[in-house]
């Protein structure tokens, strides 16, 4: 099978043209930033400040709570107005540090010493990355330092930098690769050093020739970094698919990438790590694609973490009347937003504003067993079977059909001519299985 792709998968319209060529701009500081204590996979951070405290940009406002956690830093200078509940992008409520941004501040970070990474051991690099609050920017917001210190009993052979950005609409990673290729390489260098791996591959879907171009042009001569151009297909960016495409190996069901000697890190993440060791600044801002037909001025922005959705939209010329739905992340897997007060978090790759034509829910018909979902599923499940079982609430039986291997990529729902919300049902079934069983049958 092809060396730079995977079997099955789908081809949703890309719609990247809206922002692909738009250079990254820095968004002016909002009046208020809101820093949720839970922005990453793992334990929430614990606040260090109280109401009335004054913080400089980059100051630590919350500390990591253990290893599976990262600290949080003020993304703008100002006064802490309190710690209160705000809507979380996942729809729940979360406690957050509210900072009233200082109007006329220069927003200069406190002068700080840049960590001397060459002199550090791998673990210390990882620790520095944790201190800087870096998490995966690919969407999962998985603490980056954890991936930099893999379990001792495993050997890492290859570092894969994920520049696939297979989700429609999104161009954040694309712009990073085009505008800051050296930074990507520098970050890769640091990761390789920390992990002690000799080889790194940057995987980029072939619909971003300029990115491939830029990256190839700037590969440092002393490193074994190669840039792979991958077939354009969703979900090429999914860890397992990416690893399969690049190394030809299959991550065993239920296992982690390192079990096949690979570590996957998103380009944005890598760049962020590089920035930590260039400027000493922690992760307090990220590149976000604001796009979709429902927003007036689609753009790629550098946004301070904790900026509220409404402020970003206002800066992009606000919503037009066709706007129907606001999604954090891409339209295939992204989280839909109910509240404009929701702050952007470290994991927010993009804001996609969809219109009525795009979203208007179509009638659902019964499954006609056309098998398209079977042909779409990148992990070779039988969604139509799973779907039928899910409808009856036969979750235990679903496990027999490998529900656990479903990564909720949504390819099945995308192709289903009967418009059955398969992946949603699978998400619910997984949740139901996690719930405590009170009784039999």
């Amino acid at each position: 099978m092809s060396s730079n792709g995977f079997r099955h998968g789908v081809h949703p319209p890309e719609r990247k043209e809206l922002t692909a060529a738009v250079p990254v701009r820095r968004m002016p500081f909002p009046e208020q930033v809101v820093l949720p204590l839970r922005q990453h996979a793992g334990k929430p951070a614990v606040p260090l400040v109280q109401r009335g405290d004054r913080v400089e940009r980059g100051d630590k406002v919350a500390a990591a709570d253990g290893y599976m956690s990262v600290p949080m830093h003020a993304s703008a200078a100002g006064i802490v107005t309190g710690i209160d509940w705000v809507p979380h992008p996942d729809g729940s409520m979360v406690e957050a540090v509210h900072i009233a941004v200082e109007r006329h501040s220069a927003q200069l970070p406190r002068p700080r010493l840049v960590p001397e990474w060459e002199s550090l051991a791998g673990d210390d690099v990882a620790r520095a990355v944790q201190e800087a609050g870096v998490v995966g920017l690919g969407g999962a917001a998985f603490p980056a330092h954890v991936k930099m210190a893999p379990p001792k009993d495993t050997t890492v052979e290859i570092l894969i930098v994920n520049g696939a950005e297979c989700e429609p609409y999104l161009t954040a990673d694309h712009r990073v690769m085009v505008e800051y290729p050296e930074r990507v390489h520098f970050g890769t260098r640091i990761m390789m050093r920390a992990l002690g791996v000799g080889r790194a591959v940057i995987g980029v879907e072939s619909n971003k020739p300029d990115a491939v171009e830029a990256l190839r042009a700037t590969i440092p001569s002393d490193l074994d970094i190669s840039v792979e151009s991958l077939t354009v297909k969703y979900p090429q960016g999914a860890e397992k698919m990416l690893i399969h495409a690049i190394t030809g190996r299959e991550v065993p069901s239920g296992k982690l990438p390192v079990h096949v000697g690979a570590i996957v890190q998103n380009v944005g993440t890598v760049a962020a790590i590089a920035e930590v060791f260039e400027t000493g600044l922690p992760l307090i801002e990220r590149i976000v694609t604001v796009t979709g037909r429902g927003v007036n001025r689609p753009s790629n922005l550098i946004v301070p973490v904790g900026t509220r959705l409404r402020d970003v939209l206002d800066f992009c010329g606000g919503l037009n009347e066709s706007a129907a739905e606001i999604v954090f992340g891409g339209p295939m897997m992204g989280m839909v937003q109910a509240d404009l007060d929701t702050p952007l978090t470290k994991g927010t790759t993009g804001i996609v504003v969809l219109t009525h034509e795009e979203t208007s829910a179509r009638a659902t018909l019964p499954c006609i067993r056309c098998g398209r979902c079977v042909d779409a599923c990148p992990v070779f499940l039988m969604p139509q079977q799973l779907g039928a079982l899910a409808q009856l609430g036969r979750y235990e039986d679903m496990q027999q059909w490998n529900l656990a291997d479903c990564m909720l990529c949504g390819s099945c729902s995308y192709v289903c001519p009967s418009n059955i919300p398969l992946s949603q049902m699978f998400a619910l079934s997984k949740a139901a299985l996690r719930r405590p069983k009170a009784k039999v049958a």
Partner: protein, 278 residues
């Protein structure tokens, strides 16, 4: 005549032969199980609801036959069914305190508005997973009736405000709704506990009442009015210590500005007028 004899001989012979074999076999090979278990199992409701705390009705049947539990442990059986089992086993039926499911939310759609439209699978779990389901109060009942569907005893019906109303006569305290509710809004408690805080929102003050006019805004009046130590204010919510429920009295609810804390006698909400599970 020979004919008759031969016939008698043949069948007699066959009978004899197998009589012997089976006799031997039975001596050698009998495996015995108490037949009363099946009998009792027949008498049980067969709901397999687990309210009795056993894995299904047959397990309960075994337990009762062994005398480990009294038939009354099965909250689903009607009294005379109980007596049937009891009389069949010649044991005492026993007694049990009536417990029911209570909802810790009063935010019907009239008092707790929605901020966005969820469109999709009609299930609370589903809605909550999609941007929180669009309910203004993130803690409040989203009203798609997962609990009503989960209830095997048709004890829950949705009222026109999209709040589940528990029919306390039908409710067997089987705990299904508690498990079903993605927001954990149900709890099982004895019917004779009257004082209930029908709110889970951790917001306080206006923030709380802005999204739901019957929310607990943490004004702490009930804490002062109630008997010492019965109610405590924890992170923006009044919490009743049911260990001390003996101390409960009506004073606690008198000055509550939103009516979040209530004195429940019988059904929790007004009997449903419209909607309902069909």
């Amino acid at each position: 005549m020979t004919l008759i004899l031969s016939a008698v001989a043949i069948l007699g012979g066959i009978g004899l032969a197998f009589g012997v074999i089976i006799a031997v076999a039975q001596r050698r090979l009998r495996v015995w199980e108490d037949p009363r278990i099946d009998a009792v199992n027949e008498l049980l409701p067969g709901a397999n609801c687990g309210a009795c705390g056993y894995a299904g009705c047959r397990a309960f049947a075994e337990a009762t036959v062994q005398g480990v539990v009294t038939p009354a442990q099965c909250t689903v059986m009607s009294p005379d069914m109980r007596d049937d089992v009891a009389s069949y086993l010649g044991v005492d039926a026993g007694t049990a305190v009536k417990r029911v499911a209570r909802l810790l939310c009063a935010g019907g759609r009239d008092v707790a508005p929605y901020k966005a439209e969820y469109v999709g699978i009609s299930s609370c779990a589903a809605a909550v997973a999609v941007g929180g389901g669009g309910k203004g109060c993130a803690w409040g009942c989203v009203g798609h009736g997962d609990c009503a569907v989960a209830c095997t005893f048709d004890a829950i019906a949705m009222n026109e405000q999209n709040l589940p109303v528990v029919d306390i006569d039908r409710c067997t305290a089987c705990n299904d709704c508690v498990v079903a509710c993605p927001l954990g809004l149900f709890t099982i408690m004895p019917v004779d506990h009257h004082l209930i805080v029908q709110c889970r929102s951790l917001l306080s003050g206006d923030a709380a009442t802005r999204v739901c006019s019957v929310a607990c805004n943490a004004c702490a009046r009930c804490v002062q009015d109630a008997a010492e130590g019965l109610i405590a204010m924890r992170s923006g919510l009044a919490v009743i210590d049911y260990e001390r429920i003996r101390l409960e009295d009506q004073r606690a609810i008198e000055r509550c500005p939103t009516g979040a804390i209530t004195w429940v006698d019988g059904a929790q909400f007004q009997v449903l007028t419209a909607g309902g599970v069909n």
